[in-house]
Homo-oligomer: 136 residues x 2
DNA sequence: TTTAACTGTAATATTTTTTGTTACAATTAA
DNA sequence: TTAATTGTAACAAAAAATATTACAGTTAAA
């Protein structure tokens, strides 16, 4: 995970939580993050599919939270946004003729899985509402 | 962290732990991981600077552990290998004129720091020796 | 009913990161 | 003296991430 997707998603969700009920446009959100609006729109679609937000097309359209910020855990945002494994990629073709190469990926997977579970549990304790409270 | 550095470093260290005392060449290690030997040598240098391994130049040279595998925690390997933040990059220039943009990176940093600490503590409980025991 | 402000989406380009390659000096054992 | 090796630099290629352009479709309101 060497991208900005988690930061971007949290930024979007925090903005929406900060202005509850208001329909915010992707251009406004993009201006706050200072990235391209199309990237925001793509992430909004992911957040919408996850059930966190709802959108309205046309003039005066935009997005807003689909449920209370206190009902959304940071772990849920993390879940929809993470792509690879938390501790990085595995090597693709370790040598099966070697004791270590043969079993390395299976054993790494175990470790990666445990680590991811740990993070998910930790982030589950934190709600979007908690996080949004940190802003003026 | 969307690279193979952690997987590569663990693979290297597991191999060395699996053949204690033996000087393994970077070519042999590269053949086990199935990656380019130069990448292995670069990672070996990092592991050497961290004090985990020692190397011998010249014919019959190679690398071996500088201390017992039971004295090396997985968290230490994670520490030397991680580059960015565990939950990804922050956006570079959030808008300081926005309540959220102004403080987002500081608040993300807090969250990232807590998360990283959690992982470090978890991986500290696991030694290289434990991990190496999983291999035939 | 026309216009302007939006979302949704595709296609493509650019930049950044990661991985691989080639080359060779320096070292060591035999 | 030769062969095997580490250490290191410079560069190339591939993959991933981010940005850009374009436009069809929707909606509110003048």
């Amino acid at each position: 995970m060497n991208n900005t997707r988690f930061a971007t998603a949290i930024h979007i969700m925090t903005l929406l939580a900060h202005y509850p009920g208001e329909w915010l446009s992707s251009d406004l959100i993009a201006a706050s993050i200072n990235i391209n609006p199309v990237i925001v729109r793509k992430e909004l679609i992911v957040l919408k599919e996850a059930g966190f937000i709802e959108s309205k097309m046309g003039k005066d359209g935009g997005c807003r939270l689909a449920k209370s910020a206190s009902e959304i855990a940071i772990s849920e945002i993390y879940d929809v946004v993470k792509n690879g494994e938390i501790l990085g990629k595995k090597n693709q073709n370790p040598n099966p003729k070697c004791d270590v190469g043969r079993d390395i990926n299976q054993n790494l997977q175990l470790l990666f899985g445990e680590t991811d579970l740990l993070i998910t549990r930790f982030l589950k304790q934190k709600s979007l509402a908690d996080f949004a409270l940190l802003f003026a």
